[in-house]
Symmetry: C2
Subunit: 477 residues, 2 copies
């Protein structure tokens, strides 16, 4: 807890973001450049993300496994786009047990190569397919510019890796997992996202096609929140993953991979947070409810605390924190938990004990408008309803904000203007040249070509040539 | 699935162990020497271990966090016993992003140093104490002789790291977590364990005292199944973790650490397995029940399958697998799931459909003795009872086996004999010399000095000098 106030988002968005994370104790800087420590409050949020996503993966038939973190350097050289994309970012182990290694080992930046190697051992027949494996773990990418959660040398994620008998099945899987991410983002995190296909220059190193969900942060910059890759036969050819099909023919499998990382914690902070700090969506919040006892003396305390304990018992379906610290005032606690983004605060004082009431304050609606008085009877049901309302309100607010900042500029000049403070949704001829020009002029990149297209054709906003798709351009994290 | 039979445990215990793991697809060898791939069946067992343990940690007030995997080499040099113990086992990153690093980074073999560094930043006052943090993750130790699950270069574990204001509080925590491990081993894994204190030569590098739980495997060798360390002020002095106490005095905190790893999967395999393969304790088994449909033709199939689907619905409190493969016979499936150690097998055929019955076979009791016929009515309750019985039977059997192989030899000559095929529980003078002599003569080491002591004093079984404690000697994994 720092004494001075948070910078506002308008003053300095980037500093607001860092300070919120440090002051709410979500994360801290590690002694190694670009690494972070995820502190218990941040990790509890990530655990809730994991739990929700993991259930969705298992419902869609996936199982978890663990592949080694150390990968022989030579594996990376087997797929040419992959090595080109990742070699500048590798952390390399050259010494083990005091000896220089014959072949250096790479700490995985992603696991297509090692998993491809194992799949070539395990997959022999069409009966072995599909293979639907996910892994939760850490990876290392040697990034130069780092930000807590958004881009760190080591980060945490899940990576799904699947193998299929046919191209359509792999494509279906790729899209199914993108849908899974979309549903998770919308339903659990209350983050509106746009699903679509990345441009060739933005796709994963080694993929035939990369799909993403893109979200708008509170400063209107975009954040790629998850990706799903159709890898075609690129990795099955590089790692010789072949199977005997039903006609006894040897064929290469079709593979996919898909991932969501601790970046998503950053997305949650920047989508919902306000100048007071975090606002966490109820489905993912480490604490959904904080109860602050209000009393002036021991007598009042002895009246209030048993009621609070009883209420906590009745609220056991929720994640509840009782803040019973005695060294700080209720006012201090209100500010503290507001900053930490707990969706609902309950206050119970001697008058509430007498009246059988509870004061409740919504984090998403500051001041009096967000306060109401509930009866202690039937509290769990009332609270459940309020949390659902907050979840929906956060989504609606984020959606309205986003839609108010996506523009359809009439020409390239106007596009450059709107990209100062929003996204442009414009016709694009799909050429790398036009994409590069926009980046050069505005720092904005193509986010994705959304599945939801207006139909018809238009003229590229950059070069004026015929265009078949509209694309989102924006600055991005 | 291999066609030929498993080697028996009597023929070749070590080969039995490896083959069970490979054939049941719990794990496989990775391309890097000494690393393993934990396959979905093995990882599902580890996930169940994690879920059970994690709930126990949270009940005792602990929270999870994530500290970076990469640690500056210099951190290891701050605690002299620690660096001595771990420096031969380090994996070192010397290149990042194509550049040689100024200071090499170590992949954590354990996290006392990096966590100590962060605690020195976070802990300022007695109000910040205790800090009760756990982390689930991977670590790397450059071992020369490796075995799947038992000793691998990279392994998975949890490591708890706590900080306290006083020595007694740290000691209490150290013992509490050992109790937690003991309860987990007994209640969830049905593994009888002996809690006690490690000898000085066997304790953790940097600890004041190490406590362990020790289990006996099916070949009578011991396996240290979890450890809990009282670190005194060794790490708080090395990393300058100080706090202002209630009298405004600056003091060093007292720290503990404790861990349980994927070794425990090996312990589960070797405690319960038999010549047919795995026997998994119901509380941890990935599948508690497999249902094998029995039919000869399409007509029978169309009668049997709906009943099985209905029964699966009624058994939703359990982890159930329906083996509906059509390319293999029921007999093949019986063998397959026996090898995979599923506690209960249900068979449902046309006659069962008519009679409203289900054939059930217990994995822990082979042949007819383990079979019975249940009614379909009230199946969940009957199954629940049977699983509890199996859980208890596995524990009882392991306990009887262990107790039949712990001896109280009358002299050193007899001790050397019993150590060929069991443990010796003998008076020991606590000198390193006697410990070393036993190791030299028999390869047995002290396992631990159990808390449960006979009382009184005796004569060291090695040197005959007065001894205050009895200790377990045995060969160990």
């Amino acid at each position: 807890m720092a004494e001075d106030k948070l910078p506002t988002r308008a003053e300095n968005y980037s500093e607001w973001y860092n300070q919120v994370i440090l002051r709410t104790e979500m994360a801290d800087y590690a002694p190694v450049r670009g690494c972070m420590v995820v502190r218990p409050y941040g990790w509890a949020l990530w655990e809730n993300i994991q739990k929700d996503l993991d259930a969705r993966f298992k419902e869609t038939g996936h199982v978890n496994a663990a592949f080694p973190m150390l990968i022989p350097m030579s594996f990376f050289e087997k797929e040419k786009d992959h090595v080109e994309g990742f070699s500048p970012e590798l952390a390399v182990v050259t010494i083990g047990g005091g000896q220089t290694l014959e072949e250096p080992l790479v700490i995985r930046p992603t696991s297509e190569t090692i998993i491809g190697h194992m799949y070539s051992k395990w997959i022999k027949s069409y009966r072995d397919l599909p293979v639907l494996i996910n892994q939760w773990g850490n990876v290392v990418r040697w990034e130069m510019r780092t930000r807590l959660f958004l881009r760190t040398l080591e980060f945490y994620w899940q990576e799904g890796h699947t193998a299929h008998a046919t191209r359509p099945e792999a494509e279906e899987e790729t899209r199914r997992m993108l849908d899974t991410y979309r549903n998770f983002a919308v339903e659990a995190a209350a983050i509106p996202v746009i699903p679509g296909r990345k441009s060739d220059s933005e796709k994963f190193a080694g993929a035939e096609a990369t799909y993403s969900i893109e979200a708008m942060m509170g400063d209107t910059r975009a954040l790629q929140s998850a990706t799903s890759h159709h890898l075609g036969q690129n990795f099955s050819k590089a790692f010789d993953i072949r199977f005997l099909d039903q006609n006894n023919q040897l064929s290469y499998v079709w593979t996919t991979s898909w991932g969501l990382s601790t970046r998503f914690v950053g997305a949650t902070i920047m989508t919902h947070g306000d100048d007071q700090g975090l606002i966490l969506p109820p489905r993912l919040a480490p604490y959904q409810i904080v109860i602050v006892p209000i009393f002036k003396n021991d007598e009042e305390q002895s009246k209030v605390m048993p009621v609070i304990e009883r209420l906590k018992g009745e609220l056991k379906a929720f994640r509840v924190k009782i803040d019973d610290r005695t060294e700080v005032t209720p006012g201090f606690k209100f500010n503290d938990w507001e900053m930490r983004g707990v969706p609902l605060r309950l206050e119970v004082g001697p008058k509430d004990v007498e009246k059988g009431s509870v004061m409740v304050a919504r984090r998403d609606i500051p001041g009096k408008a967000g306060k109401s008085i509930l009866t202690q009877d039937n509290l769990a049901e009332q609270i459940g309803r309020l949390l659902d309302e907050i979840q929906q309100a956060l989504y609606d607010r984020a959606l309205a904000f986003r839609d108010a900042h996506i523009f359809d500029p009439k020409d390239y000049g106007e596009m450059k203007e709107v990209l100062q403070n929003g996204w442009s949704f414009s016709w694009w001829c799909e050429s790398r040249e036009c994409e590069a020009k926009v980046k050069e002029d505005t720092k904005a990149t193509t986010r994705n070509i959304p599945f939801d297209q207006p139909g018809g054709t238009g003229k590229c906003i950059v070069c004026g040539k015929p265009a078949k798709v509209k694309v989102h351009f924006s600055k991005a994290y």
